[in-house]
Symmetry: C2
């Protein structure tokens, strides 16, 4: 279960169903549920609901982009467990305005990403609603049990690592909301990252095969919020070096022009859909070299896992900071 819902409701459901979950199954509490499949393999299953005016604004994202993104965020959950996507299910409620051309373009965007990774849509529900557009995707993946990565496996001393850059999608959202999406190249690059995020499919599957990678999850609500999930599930603390956050040149450029704080966007912004994981310290050098050879991209160490009870301690060049950062919540008040 993605932890973007009301924490009280999720905790209450987890407690209600705790005794019903069969042995070997993982229920509420990770990116995906885990079901034993055969002796060696498990299925991972995730589901996400996107509602109009809460997760997206119809006049700010094209139906093609929204179809692509609806699938991307679910494939991201699957691959953050180290699993390969197998199939998806799509439910869409449409109002009259969206019944014709809109849904065709939406389906084209969904298909574009489906076909790129050869993940078939196997079913769903298309229905009408007088209350605008709602989308629900369920994605299923398969993983060798030895390659399954949970949020609960971080160990004190592990390095905290991220793929790609952070904060681009959050900056893209800020740009869109201020109507500057067509200004120039860096603005367009950031809005594209928000509208059509690239899920780390191959990277997640590959990191799954590495035993030195301990805990892993995707970054959907900003690491200030997401990292706390790993800490809670693993019963550990963390130290984060905010001056080591990987920031794209576009983010730095736009933040300078707009006088935005790139560190806050990188830590507290949502929807990066890159990967956050922890790595045994002694094996990190080899891992990052092999990763670079394979993906031609660097990894970034942003901190370390510490002992329980510390929460997140934030450091910058000047040393320990006397403040905290919180993560992203979808714009429910719009």
């Amino acid at each position: 279960m993605r932890h973007k819902g009301e924490p009280d409701i999720i905790a209450s459901l987890a407690s209600m169903y705790k005794d019903m979950v069969p042995s070997g199954f993982t229920g509420i509490g990770d990116d995906c549920a885990v079901l034993p499949f055969s002796g060696e393999e498990s299925l991972v299953i995730t589901t996400d609901m996107l509602t109009e005016d809460s997760h997206f604004l119809r006049n700010k994202i094209s139906p093609f982009q929204l179809g692509y993104k609806s699938l991307a965020v679910n494939l991201s959950d699957v691959c953050s467990m180290g699993a390969s996507p197998v199939c998806t299910f799509l439910s869409v409620a449409l109002d009259r305005d969206a019944a014709n051309g809109w849904i065709d373009d939406f389906n084209e965007g969904y298909y574009k990403l489906s076909s790129r990774y050869n993940v078939p849509l196997l079913g769903g529900d298309t229905t009408c609603s007088p209350r605008g557009i709602t989308i629900n995707v369920t994605a299923i993946g398969k993983v060798n049990n030895k390659h399954l990565k949970l949020r609960s496996s971080a160990l004190p001393g592990d390095k905290i690592v991220v793929c790609d850059t952070l904060g681009d999608s959050a900056a893209g959202l800020k740009i869109i909301r201020s109507g500057k999406e067509n200004l120039s190249a860096p603005y367009r690059i950031l809005t594209d990252k928000h509208l059509m995020p690239a899920p780390c499919i191959e990277k997640g599957i590959w990191l799954g095969t590495r035993t030195e990678v301990h805990a892993m999850m995707d970054i959907s609500d900003g690491i200030a919020k997401d990292l706390r999930q790993i800490l809670a599930c693993s019963n550990t603390g963390a130290r984060i070096y905010t001056h080591h956050l990987p920031l794209s040149p576009e983010l730095q450029q736009v933040c300078q022009i707009e006088n935005w704080n790139p560190t806050e966007l990188a830590l507290c912004g949502g929807e990066d859909y890159s990967l956050l994981f922890t790595v045994a310290e002694a094996k990190y050098e080899t891992l990052q070299k092999t990763y670079y050879q394979k993906f031609q991209e660097p990894l970034s160490v942003i901190g370390e896992i510490t002992v329980p009870g510390k929460g997140i301690e934030w450091y910058d060049e000047q040393g320990k900071q006397n403040r905290d950062y919180m993560g992203f919540t979808h714009f429910s008040s719009l």
Copy 2:
């Protein structure tokens, strides 16, 4: 994929993904998708979206009833394939009015049916929305491949059989919409059947084990519409005897008082969530005796499967009728 969506959209998606569906998988077109699980077993997966003012009216169904019903309609799909439910996933979008007590009662209703059949909720998404309540359930079941029942297995000469009575839920909806739900016992019984339908879990699983049962599906949109799915998938026609439809005493009583047509409610009304299946003629007598011993309820033969190209021919006591019946579509214009 449940066929209550726009037929054109479903046909277009089925065609887009046709070549991507791996061998041994069943995609869009039955109550559930089918995924090979082990050599002998398959998983069946279904998903359904319920939207406010289209599938339910907030002031006409209690949150407890809606939670129960949201799960019931999905378990009904699973069991109509002959499968046993394994687990479910629940996404709910809530507005501010539903954020507190409403969702707790909804979750209690969902839990009530989950615990009755020991089907754990393993994940989902709880999110807020300014546009009212939307619910999406994904249900997963498991079935021995020999017991899997598809819509495509009806054979000419098969008897067409239903469990339970037909039309009660549709009458219940009519009663609710006319504000008469508290009038007297038969009215309350019919509205209860609409608000908290009992899915045929044990019956579906048991019928799955019987080789003389050929095609099977659940009745969600009225048999006038649902039976056409079996005919299209099996490339057959059908003859239906409208005077053999099983009607409850409550339905007959209320229809007499209100001057409603019980045959039309039984054929065209939706949401019965009983089972519609076809049986090899020579083995029907034994099947219905064994069924009665097991469930203390009769089965009802309502017609026969005929050769292709005939569509549905409707008969009553006077012989062949010169008319057609259509099924149920959710009340989208409310």
